[in-house]
């Protein structure tokens, strides 16, 4: 993970890769959303220091990075729980009993939904995750569990607790590392077209 010799929030090889990835786009900041995902996956959050680093890295001001971080729900500016459950509360899932899933999880975890977490677990409701035909659903650290029943949801929590079911932790398995790093535009740096 983070070494003491660098302020970069990512391991050196990762930083070097992002350095090359920047050149694939007409503007460096195009990598911002995936870059912030990567930082968050490594550090558990995007804190002020990382925000400043990311801003310098893509050549924009920190407040613009902050604007992006607060616009999208998937970024955490505060330390987050180790296992994060998000239950869809939208129409298809609600019709299929999402409320009962939330109640079962609150009971199983001893947590109140949408009231933060205990460091180990957090529980929240979210808008549509795109699993409507397999409702109700929940997402744990980026992995979907679908066609839930209250009992099934409880069992998944127990299974994760006991290591019988795996969910992604730390740096995402999704390596945003395309094999090809072509600079895919051929023009001089863009002229502003008012």
């Amino acid at each position: 993970m983070e070494t003491s010799t660098t302020k970069a929030p990512l391991p050196p090889d990762r930083t070097a890769w992002w350095e090359r990835r920047k050149a694939c786009f007409p503007e460096a900041r195009a990598i911002l959303l995936p870059l912030l995902h990567d930082i968050q996956d490594h550090r558990g959050l995007v804190d002020g220091e990382a925000m400043q680093w990311a801003a310098d890295f893509v050549g924009i001001s920190p407040v613009e990075v902050y604007g992006v971080l607060t616009f999208y729900w998937m970024y955490d500016l505060e330390p987050r729980a180790k296992r994060r459950i998000a239950v869809c509360r939208n129409i298809s899932c609600d019709l299929m009993g999402a409320r009962r899933i939330v109640e079962a999880l609150e009971d199983e975890l001893g947590l109140e939904c949408d009231r933060g977490g205990d460091g180990d677990w957090s529980l929240r409701t979210v808008e549509c995750m795109g699993a409507c035909t397999a409702a109700p659903m929940m997402d744990v650290n980026g992995r979907y569990f679908e066609e839930l029943t209250p009992e099934k949801a409880r069992e998944i929590v127990r299974a994760i607790r006991e290591g019988r079911e795996e969910v992604p932790e730390g740096p995402a398995e999704f390596a945003p590392v395309p094999a090809n790093l072509a600079r895919s535009w051929t023009e001089e740096p863009r002229k502003e077209e008012a």
Binding site: P26, E27, P34, V68, S92, C132, D139, E173, F174, P178
Partner: protein, 453 residues
């Protein structure tokens, strides 16, 4: 991560699609179609290779235009016509294809199936479109929640690069294009085409005013076409089997098959490939598709095309699934995502949930939307809670009227439509909820609920 069950895909894979031809889902049941080797064994990139050898770019555009293919992302704009808005091929500027994989309309999970089970079909569609329009680079923007789908798609892109299907001078034919994948981070509005471009550029997903349209000023200020995943997946079949074949499927004004997702209170929820023009009744009731309302219940309402298309009563079940027929009913085909509500469901609650969603997802640029969505959500919440007031329904309709056609993008309109349709077809249920509230002592208006403003 492997070994996760795939319930969303179980139904369509088990369905034999009786009585009609399929070309989007025809190969998704094959194990390993996300791998290039398997996909190639089943014909992936053969159409593109033939197009490179035998067709001029203008012929590709003409075929797509003549096919009558309309966008599958919600608006239903003619795809080929959109392509012709791009500058001529001798224009030296770089130009981009923005691929909308930000599928976020509640009820919609069709692109997810295509990406996960057959990503090379999408890539082939992108390649054909890129050849037709002389695209420099295609930028796919996928919603952040689709972690697994992004992994599958990136792997497919990498494999296709390694095999020379993407990149410079493909198959030595002098045409080259790059394909990049960008993951979003959770915001419904990024599915709006100009917000999608902002997000692809690494910004907040704030829609841009139009004009200028993307074909003139798009990604990084360059000419850009924005196409939905399913739309592009139609392209290889059109080019392989011909315009005449394609136009025999569906209807005159809405040709082709569409991926219809059926969710809610049906016996067999799932994503089904059906010809446009199929009736809602058949889609919901047929044993091959929805299988009817589950548990033998009656039908109260259905949503025809994703949350913003609003509610229709059972008396409208015979409406054909086409752009124009649904428009006539005051709704839209949208993403063809049907949501079914049984007789026990509460329209008040369902409307409130949808209003909450748009309030949550309003980007905040336009006051009509930023404030209006909040008004709708708060008033509907108090009606649901049993604190509704007699004047609330009129306030809702007035708010809706003030939200439509006044903003940079149509999120504001999309928030107003379902409320209006709910009140048009199910007003009695709202009045009942308010009347109930009036009879309960101490829950009269003004008892600490505050005003809607």
């Amino acid at each position: 991560m492997s070994g996760a069950t795939d319930p969303a895909y179980a139904w369509p894979l088990r369905t034999p699609h009786p009585g009609h031809e399929t070309y989007l889902f025809d190969r998704i049941g094959i194990e390993g179609m996300a791998d290039l080797e398997t996909a190639r064994a089943h014909g992936a990139y053969e159409t593109f290779e033939r197009v490179l050898e035998e067709m001029e770019p203008s012929e590709v555009t003409a075929a797509v235009k003549d096919s009558g293919l309309r966008g599958r992302g919600g608006a239903g704009f003619p795809c080929g016509l959109k392509w012709t808005f791009m500058p001529p091929l001798d224009d030296p500027r770089p130009r981009f294809l923005a691929v909308n994989a930000d599928e976020s309309e509640p009820g919609t999970c069709k692109d997810r199936v295509l990406i996960r089970r057959h990503p090379h079909l999408l890539l082939e569609g992108i390649l054909c479109a890129s050849y037709a329009m002389g695209i420099t680079a295609a930028h796919i923007f996928i919603r952040g929640e689709y972690v697994e789908e992004a992994r599958v798609l990136q792997r497919a892109i990498d494999e296709a690069y390694a095999a020379g299907w993407i990149g410079a001078d493909i198959r030595g034919k002098g045409f080259g294009v790059d394909i990049h994948l960008t993951r979003g981070a959770g915001a419904y509005i990024c599915g709006e085409e100009t917000a999608l471009m902002e997000a692809t550029e690494g910004k907040r997903g704030h829609p841009r005013p139009k004009p200028p349209f993307p074909a003139a000023v798009g990604l990084w200020g360059k000419p850009t076409t924005v196409n939905n995943v399913e739309t592009l997946c139609n392209v290889p079949a059109i080019l392989a089997k011909g315009v005449a074949w394609y136009r025999r499927i569906g209807t005159q004004a809405s040709p082709g098959n569409v991926l219809a997702g059926i969710s809610g209170h049906v016996a067999r929820p799932g994503v089904y490939e059906v010809p446009l023009g199929i009736t809602m009744r058949r889609l919901i009731e047929d044993e091959a598709f929805g299988g009817g309302v589950r548990n033998g219940k009656g039908l109260k309402a259905f949503i025809p095309g994703g949350s913003s298309s609003g509610f229709l009563p059972p008396s409208e079940l015979d409406v054909p699934l086409t752009h124009d027929d649904l428009k006539e009913k005051g709704t839209m085909l949208g993403t063809a995502s049907v949501i079914v509500l049984d007789e026990d469901a509460s329209i008040v609650r369902a409307t409130r949930i949808i209003a909450d969603f748009y309030h949550d997802e309003s980007c905040g640029q336009c006051s009509q939307c930023r404030e209006g969505t909040g008004w709708l959500a708060r008033i509907l919440a108090r009606i649901e809670r049993g604190a509704g007031r007699p004047e609330d329904l009129d306030i809702l309709l007035e708010a809706c009227a003030n939200m439509k056609g006044k903003t940079i993008c149509v999120l504001s309109d999309a928030a107003a439509w379902p409320v209006e349709l709910a009140l048009r077809h199910f007003r009695g249920e709202f009045e009942e909820a308010i009347d109930r509230a009036r009879t309960v002592v101490g829950v009269a208006a003004g008892s600490g609920e505050g005003s809607a403003s």
